[in-house]
């Protein structure tokens, strides 16, 4: 769940962002409280708060005083365009590299992608 590669607050922010992208957290929906998330992931509540703070600063979440944290309107579209920028570096380039290692030609690679996309 939580790994050692990056700060935990970053991983919490990414996880919430991921849930919004996947649609499991809808816009204007309330996100779990800091203490609930801390207990669930077995991490420090201050770390959760820091992760949520990042998302508030980015306009992905907003705070309703005395009630809790909610997903901003338009958050999904904003996250999607951000993730698209990173998509090539994070997914496509390693894919091309590994394909070359396995002697899969660009044409074959395209065919594989077409086939898997349609299945």
């Amino acid at each position: 769940m939580i790994d050692d590669s990056r700060p935990i607050f970053v991983q919490i922010a990414e996880r919430i962002a991921g849930d919004i992208l996947a649609g499991s957290l809808a816009e204007e929906e309330q996100v779990p409280s800091t203490n609930e998330m801390a207990a669930f992931y077995r991490i420090n509540p201050a770390t959760v708060a820091k992760g949520m703070g990042e998302l508030i600063a980015a306009g992905v979440l907003y705070k309703k005083r005395g009630i809790g944290m909610f997903v901003s309107a338009g958050a999904r579209a904003r996250l999607r365009s951000e993730r698209r920028e990173a998509f090539v570096e994070q997914y496509v380039m390693p894919l091309i590299h590994e394909a070359a290692n396995l002697a899969i030609s660009p044409v074959e690679l395209r065919q594989i992608i077409d086939k898997e996309s349609n299945s």
């Binding site: 700060p7 203490n35 801390a38 992931y41 991490i43 420090n44 770390t47 570096e89």
Partner: protein, 318 residues
């Protein structure tokens, strides 16, 4: 997503200035300065004999430093009742009077700590399955540890220190300790210090990490600032060397044409891409492994051999 917090130290709950402690000519602590901020969970790590317990004894007013000073809640803790009722120190080998039963220990703690919560204590005693009527000396090792943990959590003391609190405690009970501590801390924030060798188990609970080595502090940082600051690269030796060129390497190992190196420094996306192009495997380094590096990279001097006035052998790793 890049935020760094710096320790202000201004509102420190515990402040130690230049602590030095000698025991009959043997230096246990050397010029230790520390400022712990309120309502955070701190990890205190170090090898056996590094000075962790001595440091905690001084911080809680149970020991006098040879030089230096300590302020707890802005006051000198030594024989200071108003400060000490706000400090709960759970020791590895807590001694209780011979005739004391579990219920007597809890009753004493109730008197000692104004912040004590009886309902919470009862709840924890049940969770840890402690027999309240049994004499403490008849308890198993793990049960004595569990009793210490119950007192530590239920005291709700503004400053709570756990020194290796779980000798003899099984994995399930340790998990129970972490879960209950976290749960109660979330509702009633306070300053907590946990000293343990089981670093991986507590790593995610900590906001701040202090590492003592050879009587000195060699690392004092926010956990999130050090997480991901080192990575291990594994692959063909020549490529590992190519990747590690110009980087600070903490540790190197080779097996035939294969090599493994731990590099210091946060890796960015370009580094990851580079590693994948070189067919190198990148694995994160855990907090526990970082602490191992911090406490063994510079050959640890036997603390007993560091004589007062002698040359300083331990170097600062910061």
């Amino acid at each position: 997503m890049n935020t760094t917090t710096t320790a202000s130290g201004n509102h420190a709950v515990i402040e130690a200035r230049s602590l030095t402690k000698d025991f009959r000519g043997v230096r246990a602590l050397q010029d230790v300065s520390l400022a712990l901020e309120p309502n955070r969970i701190h990890g205190l790590f170090g090898r056996n004999g590094a000075g962790k317990t001595t440091l905690m004894r001084i911080l809680t007013g149970q020991e006098l430093p040879t030089r230096g000073s300590v302020l707890v809640l802005h006051e000198n803790p030594l024989e200071n009742a108003s400060v000490l009722q706000c400090v709960c120190f759970v020791k590895e080998s807590q001694l209780y009077p011979d005739r004391f039963r579990v219920c007597n220990v809890l009753a004493a703690a109730r008197v000692l700590y104004p912040t004590w919560d009886d309902a919470l204590a009862t709840d924890l005693v049940a969770a840890f399955d402690l027999p309240t009527g049994r004499r403490v000396k008849k308890l198993s090792r793990g049960m004595v540890s569990a009793l210490g943990i119950v007192v530590g959590i239920a005291s709700r003391a503004p400053v709570t220190l756990f020194d290796e609190p779980y000798l003899g405690l099984d994995a399930a009970s340790r998990q129970l300790f972490y879960d209950r501590l976290l749960q109660d801390y979330a509702e009633h924030p306070r300053t907590v210090v946990i000293s343990t060798h089981l670093i991986d188990e507590v790593a995610n609970l900590l906001e701040r990490v202090v590492v003592v080595h050879g009587g000195r502090i060699v690392l004092d940082a926010d956990t999130d600032d050090i997480r991901g600051t080192a990575a291990t690269v594994t692959g063909p030796r020549a490529r590992v060397e190519e990747f590690t060129a110009g980087r600070e390497v903490l540790h190197r190992e080779a097996l035939g044409s294969f090599a493994k190196a731990t590099v210091l420094g946060r890796l960015d996306d370009a580094d990851r891409l580079r590693a994948s192009e070189l067919d190198l495997e990148l694995t994160p380094v855990s907090l526990q492994q970082l602490v191992i590096h911090a406490t063994s990279a510079h050959r640890a001097p036997d603390i007993g051999q560091v004589r007062v006035g002698g040359p300083s052998v331990v170097e600062d790793l910061r």
